[in-house]
C-alpha cells in the first residue's frame, strides 16, 4: 500500500509499505477513503514532538471502510463505512470507565501523561496513522462508529478531531449565558470553538489571529468579531479595552505549540525546540481573561517545559481547564447539531490533496499559503 512517511523535520514522502496486520483480537484494518492534515500534525512535521521516528506514517483524522476485523470484534464487519476518533482507547481502564477516553491507560507504553493517538509519534503510543491507504484500528468495538448514511465524507472526517475538539474547548470554558468569549487562533479548532461558543449561549465571541483570510472565515463561518493581533501594539490591552477593562469571561487557546506574536518565544520553541511549545497564546489568554475567569486550552503542546506566566494565573484566581478531546463522547450531540444545520464542518475545507502530493499539502498548510485552512488527503487520486 502507499502511505505518507516522515523523513525528518519538514520532509515527508509517499512510500510503499506492507498493509497492516491484525495484531490484537479486537483490531480492525480500515481502508482509508479520506484523511486530513491537522494543525497538530505540523508540530510533528516541524520536529517539535519528542520520539517522532523516521518512517512513521502520520494522520489521526481519517474515515474509511472496514477491510478486515479481528476474531473478538462484534460491532463492525467488513464493508462498514466508519469514522475513527483520533483517540485510541480501551473502554475499560480507570480513565475510560469515567469517560476520559483521551487519557486511556492501556494503549500507550511510551508515556503515561498522554493516551494513544494515531500517527502521533511514539510519545503517543507508536501507532501508524491514516494518511495512507490502510490503517490498523485497535479496539474496533470501542473507538470507531458506523457513519450515518446522511452524513457526508467531508463532514465525517472533520468529526474525528477538529470539530469535536473545538466543541470540547467551548465546553471546558463553562460558558454561561451572555458571557464574552475570546478564542485565540482562527484555524479549524478555533473556528469550531468560536461557533460552539454560541451554542453554549455566549453573548459575544471574539476571535484573534494574524492571518486575515482566517479572520474573514471566523466572521463568515462563526459570526465572530475579529482582531488581527499584528495590527495592535499590545493585543492584551486592546482586548481589555473592548471588554470594559474587565477582561473576557472565558478565553480559549486554540493555537498551541507554534504560536506567533512574540519572536523570542516562537523562535526558541518552534524553531530551536528549547521549549515544549511557544506559550504566546496561552500567556495572552491568562492576561486577557478577567479575574476569576476560565482559560480553556485545546491547543497542543509538547511535553517539555514552556515559559508560562503561571503567577498571573494564580493571582487572578483563574480556572485553567484542558485536555485532549475525548472525541467519541461528543459524537451523539454533535451529530444532532450537524443534522440540525447548527454546525457545518465541511465548510472549513479549503484544499484536497491526492496522497501522492502530500508533501505539497504539508508545505501549503504549514506555510499558510493559498488561503489554506483545512487540507484533506485523498488516497484514491481519482477522487481528489
Amino acid at each position: 500500500m502507499r502511505a505518507m512517511v516522515y523523513r525528518g523535520p519538514y520532509k515527508v514522502r509517499v512510500e510503499e509499505k506492507d498493509i497492516p496486520k491484525i495484531e490484537h483480537p479486537n483490531d480492525a484494518i480500515v481502508r482509508v477513503s479520506l484523511a486530513a492534515i491537522c494543525g497538530s500534525d505540523l508540530h510533528l512535521y516541524h520536529g517539535l514532538m519528542p520520539d517522532t521516528r523516521v518512517g512513521m506514517t502520520f494522520g489521526h483524522e481519517f474515515i474509511g471502510t472496514v477491510h478486515e476485523v479481528g476474531p473478538s470484534v462484534r460491532n463492525l464487519q467488513a464493508g462498514d463505512r466508519v469514522m475513527v476518533p483520533f483517540n485510541i482507547f480501551c473502554g475499560s481502564c480507570y480513565f475510560c470507565a469515567r469517560g476520559l477516553y483521551s487519557n486511556c491507560h492501556n494503549v500507550n507504553p511510551n508515556a503515561t501523561a498522554v493516551g494513544g493517538i494515531y500517527g502521533y509519534s511514539h510519545t503517543c503510543g507508536g501507532y501508524d496513522g491514516g494518511q495512507s491507504e490502510f490503517v490498523r484500528v485497535p479496539f474496533a468495538d470501542v473507538g470507531p462508529s458506523v457513519i450515518p448514511e446522511w452524513l457526508s465524507d467531508e463532514d465525517a472526517v472533520l468529526l474525528t478531531d477538529a470539530c469535536p475538539t473545538g466543541y470540547f474547548g467551548a465546553q471546558l470554558g463553562d460558558i454561561a449565558e451572555g458571557d464574552t468569549v475570546v478564542v485565540f487562533g482562527a484555524g479549524p479548532v478555533g473556528l469550531f470553538a468560536a461557533k460552539s461558543s454560541w451554542l453554549m449561549g455566549a453573548g459575544r465571541v471574539i476571535v484573534v489571529d494574524h492571518l486575515e483570510y482566517r479572520l474573514a472565515k471566523a466572521r463568515s463561518f462563526a459570526q465572530a468579531e475579529t482582531y488581527n493581533f499584528a495590527e495592535y501594539d499590545d493585543i492584551v490591552v486592546h482586548l481589555k479595552r473592548v471588554t470594559d477593562y474587565l477582561g473576557a469571561d472565558v478565553v480559549i487557546d486554540a493555537v498551541g505549540a507554534e504560536a506567533d506574536g512574540n519572536l523570542l518565544q516562537h523562535v526558541t520553541a518552534a524553531k530551536f525546540k528549547l521549549q515544549g511549545g511557544s506559550p504566546v497564546a496561552l500567556n495572552w489568554a491568562i492576561d486577557s481573561v478577567r479575574k476569576g475567569g476560565t482559560v480553556s486550552v485545546v491547543g497542543a503542546y509538547g511535553p517539555v517545559f514552556s515559559a508560562v506566566k503561571f503567577g498571573d494565573a494564580m493571582n487572578k484566581g483563574l480556572t485553567l481547564r484542558m485536555n485532549q478531546c475525548p472525541v467519541k463522547r461528543q459524537w451523539p450531540r454533535l451529530l444532532e447539531h450537524v443534522r440540525n444545520g447548527y454546525l457545518k464542518p465541511a465548510e472549513i475545507v479549503t484544499h484536497r490533496f491526492p496522497l501522492q502530493h502530500i508533501a505539497e499539502g504539508y508545505h501549503v498548510f504549514s506555510a499558510k499559503l493559498d488561503g489554506c485552512i483545512k487540507p484533506l488527503v485523498v488516497p484514491d487520486a481519482s477522487k481528489a
Binding site: R7, G8, P9, Y10, K11, R13, E15, E23, H24, N26, D51, T52, V54, R74, N75, G91, S92, R98, G99, Y101, P109, N110, A111, T112, H122, G125, G126, Y127, D128, D141, F168, Q171, E177, G178, W198, G201, G203, R204, H210, E212, Y213, Q223, E231, L263, H266, K271, V304, P332, R333, N340, G341, L343, A359, E360, H363, V364, A367, K368, L369, D370
Partner: protein, 189 residues
C-alpha cells in the same frame, strides 16, 4: 464604564442572538453538554472485557518507567534501530518528569533523521529535499502573494526557515567537500 458590580454591557440580547445565529443557546443547559460533568461512569463504551487481551510483544518494547507493566495494546511502527535506537532506549530509563528523558529523545530524533538521510543515498530511493519539503508548491500555491502585504506576524522569522531546512544539508555538503579536498591534497603530496 466605572468599576462597579455590573457585568459586561451586552451588545445583543439573547433573543437577538437566537434570531441571528442558528442554534444559539442549544447547549445553554450544561446537562446538554456531553463533556459535563468531566467524569461520568454511565457511558457505554463497547468494551466486553475487564482487562483487554494482550497483544504479542515482538521485540522488547520501550516503555515509560511510570508504567507498572507493558500496557496490553501498543503501536508497532518503526522499532528503534541503530544509534538513535540506542539513545531512545537510554532515554526511557528516565521518567517523563525528567528533562533528560525528553531531551535525549529529541536528540535521538535528529540522529535518526541524519542517519536515515545518509542511508537513503545507498538505496534506489534517495531523499530528495526538493520533493520531500513540498517547496515547489511555493510556485503553484501563491507563495509570494500569500505572504506579503498581508500583515502576517510570521514574516519576522521567515528567513530562518530555509536555514533550518536547508542548513544541515549545506553544512553536510560543505563538510564532505572539505574532507574530499583534504584527501586529494594528501594524495597529491
Amino acid at each position: 464604564m466605572p468599576y462597579t458590580a455590573d457585568k459586561h454591557q451586552r451588545r445583543e440580547s439573547s433573543e437577538e442572538l437566537r434570531d441571528r445565529i442558528p442554534g444559539w443557546g442549544a447547549d445553554l443547559d450544561p446537562k446538554d453538554r456531553p463533556a459535563v460533568p468531566r467524569e461520568r461512569t454511565d457511558l457505554e463504551t463497547g468494551a466486553h472485557w475487564d482487562f483487554p487481551d494482550r497483544q504479542p510483544e515482538k521485540w522488547p518494547r520501550e516503555r515509560s518507567v511510570e508504567h507498572q507493566f507493558l500496557p496490553p495494546v501498543f503501536g508497532t511502527s518503526t522499532p528503534p534501530r541503530g544509534v538513535s535506537g540506542a539513545l531512545r532506549k537510554y532515554a526511557y530509563k528516565y521518567s517523563e518528569g525528567r528533562a533528560a528523558h525528553w531531551l535525549i529523545l529529541l536528540a535521538a530524533d535528529r540522529v535518526d533523521a541524519c542517519g536515515s538521510h545518509l542511508r537513503s543515498f545507498l538505496t534506489a530511493h534517495p531523499d530528495n529535499p526538493v520533493t520531500e519539503t513540498g517547496v515547489l508548491s511555493e510556485y503553484t500555491h501563491h507563495g509570494i502573494s500569500s505572504r506579503f502585504g498581508k500583515k502576517r506576524a510570521d514574516l519576522s522569522h521567515l528567513w530562518l526557515d530555509p536555514l533550518i531546512v536547508a542548513g544541515p544539508w549545506l553544512l553536510a555538503g560543505w563538510l564532505a567537500a572539505a574532507k574530499l579536498k583534504k584527501l586529494r591534497q594528501r594524495r597529491t603530496s
